[in-house]
């Protein structure tokens, strides 16, 4: 496989090469849809069966952090779109700028996610032998609002009354939470790595209006990961909040 400039030898034209790459990326994203789809199905079936326990679990998530993260990710999608636009229109200087912004936002997302995970760990909400849905209400941390805790305790008691297995069903909820957000975070890490590579390449001025397929495709990937989060957010953070 030899290469002349930006054209790989087995393609006839740059156009063909670009179309192939973009199309390939779309097909890959279709794969990803089904990949996450299996988990969404598992989620749906279990949420249907154990609605109360899932509600209890959901109320243990930090909605402020969740909403913030959603906004962060949306903003990063926007900066990514701008980076693509700059590459398309030949604003060579701006491409790395927007990419860096995207990277920073992506890392911010991961950072917030990390804080959330840590919190779950402290609240004994990580599935496994030490999982205990009532741990937090029984061992409130110093900074917790006692009114809030009392309320949660009451809610938990109600849930336990209607579903004595709330603990194990909430564990199922958190298993899904960690599996799905974890897989999502993994995609973010991969995306961040790709964006870093893009930054390097764009600093060398490799992307021109003629050739910017990598920016475009990694952009597609980035937006897709954003979409997954757009669904994860309501499905995990927003169950039964209104009580």
């Amino acid at each position: 496989m030899h290469r002349t400039g930006e054209l790989f030898g087995h393609f006839q034209t740059l156009e063909q090469q670009r179309e192939s790459a973009t199309f390939g990326m779309w097909v890959f994203l279709a794969t990803e849809v089904l990949f996450f789809g299996g988990m969404f199905l598992t989620y749906t079936i279990n949420r249907h069966a154990y609605f109360t326990a899932f509600g209890v679990g959901s109320n243990d998530l930090d909605i402020t952090l969740g909403t913030t993260n959603t906004l962060v990710l949306i903003l990063s999608s926007f900066t990514m779109a701008m980076a693509v636009w700059c590459a398309q229109t030949g604003k060579k200087k701006l491409v790395p700028l927007f990419l860096v912004l995207t990277l920073v936002l992506g890392c911010a997302f991961l950072g917030i996610k990390f804080v959330e995970y840590k919190q779950k760990f402290h609240h004994h909400l990580v599935p496994g032998r030490s999982f205990d849905i009532s741990y937090h209400v029984n061992h409130p941390a110093p900074g917790d609002d006692p009114k809030e805790i009392a309320f949660e305790k009451e809610e938990l008691a109600k849930a336990l009354a209607s579903d004595p297995d709330t603990n194990s069903h909430a564990q199922l909820y958190f298993s899904l939470y960690f599996a799905m957000t974890g897989l999502h975070a993994l995609h973010m890490v991969v995306g961040a790595g790709l964006v870093m590579w893009l930054i390097g390449a764009s600093l060398k001025g490799r992307f021109t209006p003629h050739y910017h397929t990598p920016v475009e495709n990694i952009g597609l990937y980035w937006h897709f990961v954003d979409i997954v989060w757009i669904y994860l957010f309501p499905l995990f953070y927003l169950i039964d909040r209104h009580r």
Partner: protein, 110 residues
Amino acid sequence: MPEHSEHIVSPKIYFTIFIALVIGTSLTTWAAFQNFGPFNIVIALGIATAKATLVVLFFMHARYSVGRTRLVIVCAIFWLAIMLALTLADYQTRQPRMSRLVPPAVFYRV
């Protein structure tokens, strides 16, 4: 030259979409705290789908894309729908499962 075959979306549109997404996020969070009974989930997923659609159409340029890209999008959604719909159809009509059949002692015997 070939590069003109791709459609360039103006930053203005990008920004509009961005604002729409922010509004969608606020809306869905607000709605979660209201009691709409069984419609809470419908609203949450409806807004999510609207947001996702905007991202796909504009950020991902699907609105300006060629036929084969659209085919891929349709296929992905269609197959996902098959998987969810046919499985849920079974669950909706089969006898429900019990929470647990046997005491854990038996299960952890390994």
